[in-house]
């Protein structure tokens, strides 16, 4: 089943065309990595998919429900009520975590499930604790985000997203704000989620990680998808010159 379907998305900021014509679909249980140089539109694509940015043209569908339809070349968003429902299908983990600094770790995780999804607080708390256990930070439940390392904060952010039980989870460069040691903590968590068949779309600069974890790699450049396929094909034997040049540079 297709969880996410994006067709012919276009997005400009003033005169700058960031996304030119991009279509992606993601199957249930799939792990997709999006690679590409800075300014290639990866983050914008993710922000359009998560509706933090409004797209100019194209369609967006989650689990067969239309969030954005294309009416004669212009993106038309579904009514607010449908969007609110569709919002629950996905979660997003940010580059700089964006935890709520005035809430404890536990409250960061349970507040939305309790107050937005109106779920039972006790049940949500138990789930949150088990998520924290999975992330290896169950002892941090009563801490404030500022008392945690970057890697721990990012794990809390992942737990917060998972607590909403999204069908698909997006990651926007989840390790870019972290040093190599903390990066490996996060990659371990992502590997764990992949093994649990969590559907994920990950914008990343970690080529090795993308190769090891993803089912499919998408390479973007200048607002287009220039190559996509199995990681061993795209990363080890890229057909496109631009991809080859980029990989040569980052692999050193």
């Amino acid at each position: 089943m297709k969880l996410l379907e994006i067709n012919n998305i276009k997005k400009s900021f003033d005169d700058l065309e960031v996304l030119k014509d991009i279509s992606i679909s993601v199957e249930e249980g799939e792990v997709v990595s999006i690679l590409g140089p800075s300014g290639s539109g990866k983050s914008t694509l993710l922000r359009c998919a998560t509706m933090l940015e409004t797209m100019d043209a194209g369609t967006l569908m989650y689990c067969g429900e239309k969030a954005v339809t294309d009416v004669s070349g212009k993106a038309v968003y579904a009514p607010k009520e449908s969007l609110r429902r569709i919002q629950n299908y996905f979660g997003l983990v940010f580059q700089n975590f964006n935890l709520f600094p005035h809430y404890t770790v536990l409250k960061n995780i349970i507040d939305a499930p309790v107050h937005i999804l109106k779920r039972d607080k006790k049940e949500v708390t138990e789930e949150a604790m088990s998520l924290l256990r999975q992330m290896g930070i169950e002892d941090k439940a009563d801490y404030y985000p500022c008392q945690l390392s970057g890697g721990q904060q990012q794990r809390v952010a992942i737990a917060r997203a998972l607590a909403m039980k999204p069908k698909i989870l997006f990651f926007d460069e989840p390790t870019s704000a972290l040093d190599p040691e903390l990066t490996s903590e996060i990659l371990k968590v992502l590997r764990l989620l992949a093994s649990q068949k969590m559907t994920m779309v990950i914008v990343t600069h970690e080529i090795e990680f993308a190769r090891n974890v993803s089912d499919r790699v998408i390479f973007m450049d200048e607002g287009y998808i220039v190559e996509q396929g199995r990681p061993e094909d795209v990363i080890d034997n890229p057909e496109n010159d631009r991809v080859r040049a980029f990989l040569a540079k980052v692999k050193g």
Binding site: T50, N98, L99, H102, A161
Partner: protein
């Protein structure tokens, strides 16, 4: 722990001032310098109460009103934003004393409404609240804008509505950001209450001036100054406590 220096300062000041007075040769006849000092305090006390009332009621009305103006100022509708901007610029750009006069005499000149002593009190509070609300609005705005965009984005992706985002996520962080400038503003208000003399509202400083004139002595004005100073020590102390309490998380 922090309480001791404050008490010490108050005791020190209340001993020092009479001592100073007596060394200046001021004496209140039978009671000596200290007796004179407390005599002035008693004379000023009704004014102190008026000043306190003005202070408290101004805060009670201007702080929520400021939030409302801040919302208007941040409105998506350009016209509303402009009205709020104009309001703030007038309130900040003209003397508070003039605004008090307008509030007090305005109804008379516009509608020939008779001026009553009772209205004098209301006019003072209305004038102060309208003026301070403009300042608070801008302080709130700075506090709201200090909350990073990422907080809104995280809230949106988690499904918080705009109102929920403001109440649960933005407001608590805003409060923390604005405490230092709000303390500043409250301290200024303590002293600004003396401007109410412009509409002949009898607060403490007006009384002090009257006593000073009647006695041909400048000392009652210093006693008034001492009152403002101690009042502001208390304000700083309370606000410091609140700031500390809000400091449970830091960025």
């Amino acid at each position: 722990m922090k309480k001791k220096p404050l008490i010490a300062v108050i005791i020190f000041a209340s001993l020092l001032i009479p001592a100073m007075l007596s060394s200046c040769g001021v004496s209140g006849g039978d009671g000596g310098a200290i007796g004179w000092f407390f005599g002035v305090i008693v004379q000023l006390s009704s004014g102190m109460w008026a000043s306190l009332e003005l202070f408290a009621l101004t805060l009670i009305f201007s702080m929520p009103l400021g939030l409302l103006i801040c919302f208007l100022r941040r409105s998506r509708f350009k016209a509303i934003e402009l009205v709020a901007k104009f309001y703030i610029s007038v309130m900040r750009g003209t003397p508070l004393m003039l605004q008090l006069l307008v509030v007090y005499f305005g109804p008379y000149f516009l509608f020939r409404m008779p001026l009553s002593t009772e209205y004098r009190f209301y006019a003072a509070i209305i004038g102060f609240a309208l003026n301070y609300a403009a300042y608070f609005a801008e302080i709130y705005r700075s506090g709201i804008e200090a909350v990073p965009e990422g907080q809104y984005e995280a809230a949106k992706v988690l499904g918080y509505s705009r109102q929920q985002t403001f109440v649960k996520i933005v407001f608590p962080q805003m409060v923390r950001h604005i405490l230092p400038p709000v303390t500043n503003e409250i301290i200024t208000l303590v002293k600004d209450t003396s401007l109410a003399f412009a509409i002949a509202f009898v607060e403490m400083f007006t009384l002090a001036k009257q006593i000073s004139a009647a006695d041909s002595n400048i000392m009652p004005l210093f006693v008034a100054g001492l009152f403002y100073y101690i009042f502001n020590l208390v304000v700083s102390f309370v606000m410091g406590k609140i700031e500390k309490k809000m400091n449970y998380y830091s960025r």
